[in-house]
């Protein structure tokens, strides 16, 4: 879904129509408060992009960009505005990052569609690097763990074994979706779905080998990450879950509430646990596929 915000009803309608013609689902708002309502009520729908005027009643488009960065951090944000760039006061919004496109040119809406197409195709407003073949990776991910309940405790046994084996607080098996990480098993820690830019696994899955971060708080990528601190994650290690065709769909990770080291043998064992978890996921996928064939 794309959220369009413009206080001028005619301009809002023109932008909405141009984007709808390009095939996007659109929600519209004329004020800051309306825009916030759309965000609050959009549960279950992914907000892909925000297109907003700058001058709004009771605020600016940058206030909405900030709200969107909290609600759907990966969304493409574009100020599409009649205000010249030098008149936009970004000083208090320096960290939100958004694109700028003037509404004044005759082909402005055509250009807006081009900018959105490019930004959405390459997801280029994420705060984290993406794997080279992200589209193929997501396609592979879609074939796994479609019914987590059917895994029937097999991953829970592995995460419990991992915590005892390494004498650590917690272990988890998580899948990294397009915008979030979701967990198939957690032992010693309770985690719901977490925004991708907030999780260590987002970065770890780009490593070829086992990732070990002995002191999470000392790593520039996570030093400001309050979520990790709240979960008591001071040490992190993970091995990737790699499908038989080579796509990394998630991680087998272990945590502790104090920084510590992780030796070569422990790394080997963690990689074995990840392989075992992946095997369970793959067996389940093959059972599902066979079941599907019999039904058909």
């Amino acid at each position: 879904m794309i959220l369009c915000v413009d206080p001028d009803p005619a301009a809002l309608a023109a932008t909405r129509d141009a984007l709808a013609d390009a095939g996007y689902d659109i929600a519209t708002a004329g004020t800051l408060a309306d825009a916030r309502d759309v965000l609050d009520e959009s549960d279950g729908v992914t907000l892909d992009a925000l297109v907003t005027e700058y001058e709004l009643p009771e605020g600016t488009g940058l206030d909405i960009v900030r709200a969107v960065r909290e609600h759907a951090p990966d969304a493409a944000c574009v100020l599409f505005t009649s205000t010249p760039v030098e008149s936009i006061d970004t000083a208090a919004f320096g960290d939100v990052v958004a694109d700028y496109l003037t509404k004044e040119e005759v082909d402005a809406r055509e250009e807006l569609c081009d900018v959105l197409e490019q930004t959405l195709a390459f997801r280029s407003q994420t705060a984290y690097p993406l794997p080279d073949d992200e589209d193929a990776r997501l396609a592979a991910l879609g074939r796994y763990a479609r019914d987590p309940v059917a895994l029937d405790g097999s991953l829970d046994r592995l995460t419990e074994i991992a915590t005892a084996l390494f004498d650590l607080d917690a272990a988890a098996v998580g899948l990294v979706d397009a915008h979030e990480q979701r967990f198939l098993s957690c032992h010693g820690v309770s985690m719901g779905t977490i925004d991708r830019e907030e999780t260590v696994c987002t970065y770890a899955m780009l490593d070829d080998d086992v990732t070990v971060i002995e002191d999470v708080a000392a790593d520039a990528r996570f030093e400001a990450n309050e979520g990790l601190r709240a979960l008591g994650i001071a040490f992190y290690a993970s091995a990737s879950l790699v499908t038989p065709d080579g796509q990394t769909i998630g991680t087998f990770c272990v945590y502790d509430d104090e920084p510590r080291s992780f030796d070569a043998r422990e790394r080997e064992l963690l990689a074995l646990l990840a392989d075992e978890a992946m095997e369970q996921l793959d067996l389940r996928r093959r059972l599902d596929d066979d079941g599907g064939e019999h039904d058909a």
């Binding site: 940058l62 960009v65 100020l79 760039v85 030098e86 936009i88 970004t90 000083a91 919004f93 320096g94 960290d95 939100v96 990052v97 958004a98 694109d99 700028y100 496109l101 003037t102 040119e105 250009e111 081009d114 900018v115 490019q118 930004t119 390459f122 280029s124 407003q125 994420t126 705060a127 984290y128 690097p129 830019e197 970065y203 780009l206 790593d219 520039a220 990528r221 030093e223 400001a224």
Partner: protein, 217 residues
């Protein structure tokens, strides 16, 4: 838009494909900054945008000219995070409130880049001098989003991006995270024989260290 690759006069670098962004890593005295500016010097039908984070626009403009960048308002812009009074410059100068204003830098880049495209400029070379200043005023995560967004815009208009960084100021993970947004990386080092560069991750480049002249004209 642009047909051919970007070339680099008098530098030991092969041509680089349009749409590429390069992390240029070197300490302040290694000649990396001079190399960045010389990589931004193109032909008369190309444009140049330089973001200056720690040198005043007037001084940067002088360095740009000595690096071979021609200063013309229709195709040369300086996005200035430093401020201060500068004499009239022949480049377009766009002030930003400061190096923590990533949003302001990015929006000015989008706007001036588009105006150059409309004016018929054949390819824009963009330099950030430097990411290290942006990282000293902001956290890695917003700087990452800023770099990713800029790399995406540069790719979409077949431009060339050069992101200067001083690796001695940051840990390896910061450098590797930022390099993952870029097409490739060029490292610069000082040796007894002078300045050397080495490219990685860019097609057709030598994998060996090569000497270059780190002085401005």
């Amino acid at each position: 838009m642009r047909d051919g690759a970007y070339d680099f006069e008098d530098l030991p670098l092969a041509d680089v494909d349009p749409g590429s962004s390069i992390l240029l890593a070197g300490s302040p005295h290694s000649g990396a900054r001079t190399l960045a500016l010389r990589m931004l010097a193109g032909t008369a039908d190309e444009g140049t945008i330089v973001v200056t984070t720690n040198r005043r626009a007037g001084r940067l403009a002088g360095d740009c000219e000595r690096a071979g960048i021609e200063m013309e308002t229709e195709r040369t812009a300086i996005i200035d995070c430093v401020g201060g009074e500068d004499p009239d410059l022949s480049a377009r100068v766009m002030p930003v409130s400061g190096p923590s204003d990533l949003t302001g830098i990015g929006m000015r880049f989008s706007d001036v880049n588009r105006s150059f495209q409309r004016a018929g400029v054949e390819g824009v070379r963009t330099g950030i001098c430097s990411l290290s200043t942006l990282l000293s005023f902001g956290e890695l995560q917003p700087v990452s989003r800023f770099v990713h967004t800029l790399v995406g815009r540069i790719d979409s208009v077949d431009g060339l991006g050069v992101f200067l960084i001083d690796p001695s100021m940051h840990d390896d993970r910061t450098i590797s995270t930022l390099s993952q947004f870029c097409t490739g990386r060029i490292d610069v080092r000082e040796t007894e024989g002078g300045a050397e560069l080495r490219a990685r991750g860019l097609p057709e480049q030598s994998r060996e260290w090569a000497a270059f002249d780190p002085t401005l004209r």
